[in-house]
Symmetry: C2
Subunit: 317 residues, 2 copies
């Protein structure tokens, strides 16, 4: 679960509820990794209270603070015992420089492969992709050098995730990255919004939950000048396919295609069609009765004719 930051904690809590439920609900044992945060135990206390209120049985803090900690067998064992792993917000470069390339990171990847839910918000979202936005400035126009890429956990292959996407105006920096790296899929997640990814038959399938949207930049057909743009000039990024996906939308990250949704039915239209269907069934019955008594139909049609001959009798004209 890739959460774009600022997930609702007081109201409907759609995203956190879904996380606890996917982590085995009342049997959940959730490991909270707060390494990215500059705050002390208080950040864990918030999630501890939240997850317990949402029904989780146990919440444990698992917080390596340096690469030595990230080799500690006790901390690593906690990941193995968890039914859900939650990485908090903060500084993703702190998180990645402490855990990436250590047995602790391997344990998270392994747990996720064997079915444990791994969620992260803000910094904890960024680190999930193979390539990670380390830091960078805001703006919608992609400019050379506006952001830095580092190596992430790689729970999601060939991709780069950005968060607080709408709220902090991060179109430009994600476009810069996919212009320089057209093998990556750019994924921008708004606040209080999550991209929930599951692997099905070798495809990474994504579903959107929450108040905002998930933006996908597919640079497969890009034409760019990223290799020759000087200083911080705007980049040429022509032919990027963009998908903006609100709640309920489903997307195949592997084939890079939208998964079609059944069309929503308008209840008024449905009621009208149901009435028309009744009329047709009455007609069928009358025909089956060999034209002997089509009385009901005749009365109904007469009523309709009257209405259409005096369409303005309600005084609206």
């Amino acid at each position: 679960m890739i959460i774009g930051g600022a997930e609702d904690k007081l109201g409907r809590r759609t995203i956190l509820k879904e996380f606890v439920s996917a982590s085995a609900g009342e049997h959940a044992r959730i490991a909270v990794i707060a390494t990215a945060s500059s705050l002390g135990p208080e950040v864990v206390e918030v999630y501890d209270a939240l997850f317990r209120k949402l029904g989780a049985a146990e919440v444990v803090s698992v917080r390596p603070e340096n690469r030595h900690d990230a080799h500690d067998p006790d901390l690593i064992a906690e990941i193995g015992k968890a039914t859900g792993v939650f990485m908090t917000g903060g500084n993703q470069l702190k998180l990645s420089s402490v855990i990436c390339g250590t047995p602790f990171a391997d344990a998270i990847v392994e747990a996720n492969r064997s079915g444990t839910v791994v969620a992260g918000t803000s910094a904890g979202a960024s680190i999930q992709s193979s390539h990670m936005v380390a830091f960078g400035g805001p703006g919608s126009t992609p400019k050379q050098r506006m952001t830095q890429v580092a190596a992430g956990l790689g729970l999601l292959s060939s991709s780069v995730i950005d968060q607080h996407f709408d709220q902090r105006n991060r179109y430009g920096r994600l476009l810069m990255i996919v212009s320089q790296s057209p093998s990556l899929l750019g994924i921008g997640v708004d606040e209080d919004t999550a991209a929930v990814v599951e692997e099905v038959d070798g495809h990474e399938l994504m579903r959107v939950v929450g108040r905002g949207a998930v933006a996908i930049f597919d640079p497969a057909n890009i034409v760019t000048n990223a290799h020759e743009a000087k200083r911080s000039t705007p980049l040429l990024a022509s032919g990027v396919t963009l998908h903006v996906l609100p709640e309920g939308a489903r997307f195949d990250l592997t084939s890079r295609t939208l998964i079609p949704q059944p069309a929503r039915v308008d209840p008024k239209e449905a009621a009208e069609i149901a009435e028309a269907g009744q009329d047709l069934r009455q007609l069928a019955r009358d025909i089956a009765a060999d034209d002997r008594s089509p009385s009901v139909l005749r009365r109904r049609m007469a009523r309709k004719r009257t209405k259409s001959e005096y369409p303005h009798q309600d005084g609206a004209h």
Copy 2:
């Protein structure tokens, strides 16, 4: 010329220079339309001073303030006499509600068709498309009802122009409009940047000038839920083709394709290849001389071998 606002007036003035030059330079007679502005004569005075400084012969203020003025034959005649028309910034809905559908607007369209340059910045840019962003909020994620569309001048067909695009974070509202109207091409112009459009063989060809970029949203293949999204929820906008075009880029607005550019040549690489070419010519001369005196070549090759056997003799290791 569609200028994204805040064009440079003190430094290089690339865009304003190009406008004056395209308006016949020292023979230019420029009509400034400041109807959109809430300021008095001072806005015209600024452009008057600027255009004269850049070499224009004459600058006249042509400022209808209501639809009655926009029928005034004297004002309309000024458009016919101008070699360039410049529409200032301000409120595009004021400008469009005063001039659109009047003989004054017809005169601008007619002048442009017969070759007069028409430029506009900010509000004066927005009004140039067939469909005009009237007003709306910022944000990168497209949301239902976040902006309003009104009818523009239609100098550019089947399109909608937005300005201050990067600086005011207007991706979302332009995406909302093309989601609701997939027949339109969305064109977002950054500040101090211009889209210069010329019609050639029935195609509208665009060239980018200035410090920022022009973003193009092509919704030809869009999948959207714009017809059923409620309230101000984020919109589904899947499969939009995005082009970000910096200075020098050229784009065919009619076929919606990038016009390929010759690749930029790296001067260092060019110097190396030129030297290699000299060597090859020497070799050819030696062969032509029937192997009698390939002395220069032999000496040169010996020199190169020495260098590559001692690559670190400059002490850099």
